[in-house]
Amino acid sequence: MKLWIEKQRYLIDFTLASLARRKARNIGLLLVYTLLVFMLASVTLYTHALRQEAARVLVASPEVVVQRMVAGRHDLIPPGYMEKIGRIRGVQTRTARLWGYYYDAVTKANYTFMVPAEDAPAKGEIVVGPALERSRGLAANNGISFRSYSGKLHTFIVAAVLPQATELVSADLVLMSEESFRAFFDYPVGHYTDIALTVANPQEVKNVALKLSAALPDARPILRDEVLRTYAAIFDWREGIVLALFSAAILAFGILAWEKASGLSAEEKREIGILKAIGWETGDVIKMKFWEGMLISLTAFLVGFVAAYVHVFHFAASMFEPVLKGWAVLYPHFQLTPHIDGVQVATLFFFTVFPYAAAVLVPIWKAAITDPDSVMRG
């Protein structure tokens, strides 16, 4: 065992020296390799952070949201609807909610106007999300005007700015009082957007939804768990599609690695011939080359991954944002919370290191079986 370790140390030593001697030859491959890891890692880190963000948002949202359907379309909750739901066992609270979207022509972005269940701002005051704070240059106590869909201009005073914690949702949020909301959107009195139900026991959620559908056939209950599942699936799917698109790049990289590994320079061929002549075994040469591949792979993986991390979490993945974020094209800007996941790193490893290993295997073997007497035949 000790002998074995000593041998590997020698091989690694030799490999390091030989890599250092052939910097120019290896640097190209290393660059491409690093770039590949960087791109793939950016995609996975980014989607994973989005997934996490969505999950964090949904943790705070109610277990069941009830919408009313008219002709298959989402409609307002009419007066008296809440009462029809009546008491369902397991439901802790029922809240009718008011919210809507507003397109701001100035910043060309969509904002979510909402009436919070508690601590609503006073009439004529609003609380804004961080994105709005940035794009419109707002601060507490500033005034701001929005032109409503009916054409009238409404002016609000900014009472506060929301904290950054979960930016993905709160970024574009504008909170206001019920009175202001109804006035701004000309929202009919007694009508609501939807109803939120909180259910304490997760096992009960399903039953609550079933009872709801029975009591109100025109209602559409949306369960939080289902939304979570759907999000996860959609993000994974997107990530998968992007990775599949990258497979062409992986293939190209494999071919490059193959070619680099098989196109040994005359110098390198001579070296392997010398090593074999002075007593290195074919297996030793294969191991030496294996260590070379490992060193290149690990360097590329590490550098690429760290670069991707910086790219995603410090530069907000500026390169892939438009493809992956999807719905958020209209968002001015938001920051992701750093997160690394083991499965993702492992997956990334499968996408980069194993194809590399497979691509260089045959060329390595071909190099290693150089005739030991080649150096004497000159």
Binding site: G240, G283, V343, W365
Partner: protein, 336 residues
């Protein structure tokens, strides 16, 4: 549901393995047909050099299979959120009939590759390479198994349909869809404990007998391989039946996978690493026994077999000791 990153990665790995083996099959056939160790011809030299390629390839397959087993389980764990009723990896694997066969196939290929590499190892220590034909015959036999395991995996993934909101309306999946067995079925704890400690003990004793006998008794080598196989199955059954309960400190959470999660401090690795290592070593010791009488292997095989027995004995002992330690540490009281 193929467009999931981890699934693509796993399929990529399987494809690589299958391609490597299938692609090398004609060369293996060539070696079987033309091998003549006494010949000094250039062709014989080429065939000999090819053997290096095969052993490197198989090593790659072995590593890939091991990594794939891990990723497969991790991914199942991660996807459990997408299936109603699936609480962890077990549930995800139960979503269709191919989940567990695919996993078992991977584990089987891993052990078979380990056994092949053991035979390859002893063969390459003998000056006349006496097992070349047998070795490449076995390699050809391994190829369909590998392909079968890859096929099961593909079927499993093709048949995975996440319970997600597909149309514009929220739906209730739980109604129509059959419920998934979220938990693996498990033995009652007491017989499982007997089985667990009994089989691990037997494996340790047999490995010790074989190893102390210098690896020379063939019967003990065969028995060691048998005991290793049994101990592997029994240990997994034991982990399911009681070890996992102690780790989770929950009397009904039978799951062999959750113990790999960070929530449980990755304790599973402490159990599985020695278990897989010991089982592979025990099986390897048995795999080389049929050839122990070949003249050029008379010295090589006992030596190799003795070393494998030592690894197996230590590994199985370690598995039992670690499991006992985890039980002792646990606050769960399962047996009065």
């Amino acid at each position: 549901m193929l467009f999931q990153p981890a699934i693509i990665a796993l399929l990529l790995a399987s494809t690589l393995c299958v391609l490597a083996l299938v692609g090398s099959a004609p060369f293996a056939v060539d070696v079987i047909r033309r091998w003549d160790i006494r010949s000094g011809s250039e062709r014989q030299l080429q065939l000999e050099r090819r053997t290096y390629l095969f052993s490197t390839l198989l090593t790659l397959v072995l590593v890939l299979q091991l990594a794939a087993v891990l990723l497969f389980v991790f991914n199942a764990e991660k996807m459990s959120g997408m299936f109603v009723g699936a609480m962890c990896a077990v549930g995800t694997l139960n979503v269709n009939a191919f989940g567990f066969p695919a996993l078992n196939g991977k584990i089987a290929v891993f052990f078979l590759a380990a056994m092949w590499l053991a035979i390859n190892h002893v063969d390459s220590r003998a000056r006349d390479y006496p097992l070349v034909r047998i070795k490449y015959g076995l390699l050809l036999a391994l190829a369909p198994l590998l392909a079968g395991s890859a096929w099961a995996e593909l079927q499993y993934f093709l048949d995975l349909k996440a319970d997600v909101i597909t149309s514009c309306c929220g739906s209730l999946f739980s109604e129509g869809s059959p419920t998934i067995a979220a938990e693996a079925s498990a033995l009652p704890p007491i017989p499982a404990m007997w089985l667990f400690y009994g089989s691990l003990g037997a494996a340790v004793v047999l490995a010790a007998v074989h190893g102390l006998g210098g690896g020379r008794q063939r019967w003990s080598g065969y028995l060691l391989a048998l005991a290793s196989g049994v101990a592997f199955v029994a240990t997994i059954a034991g982990i399911l039946a009681f070890v996992s309960l102690y780790i989770y400190e929950h009397p009904h959470h039978h799951c062999p996978f959750c113990i790999l999660k960070p929530e449980y401090n990755y304790q599973g690795y402490w159990l599985y690493v020695p278990l897989f290592g010991a089982t592979a070593a025990g099986l390897a010791a048995g795999a080389v026994q049929p050839f122990a009488r070949i003249a050029s292997l008379r010295e090589v095989i006992p030596e190799f077999s003795r070393r494998m027995a030592a690894i197996a004995a230590n590994g199985f002992f370690l598995t039992a000791a670690i499991a006992s330690f985890m039980i002792w540490q646990s606050r769960l009281i399962l047996l009065e």
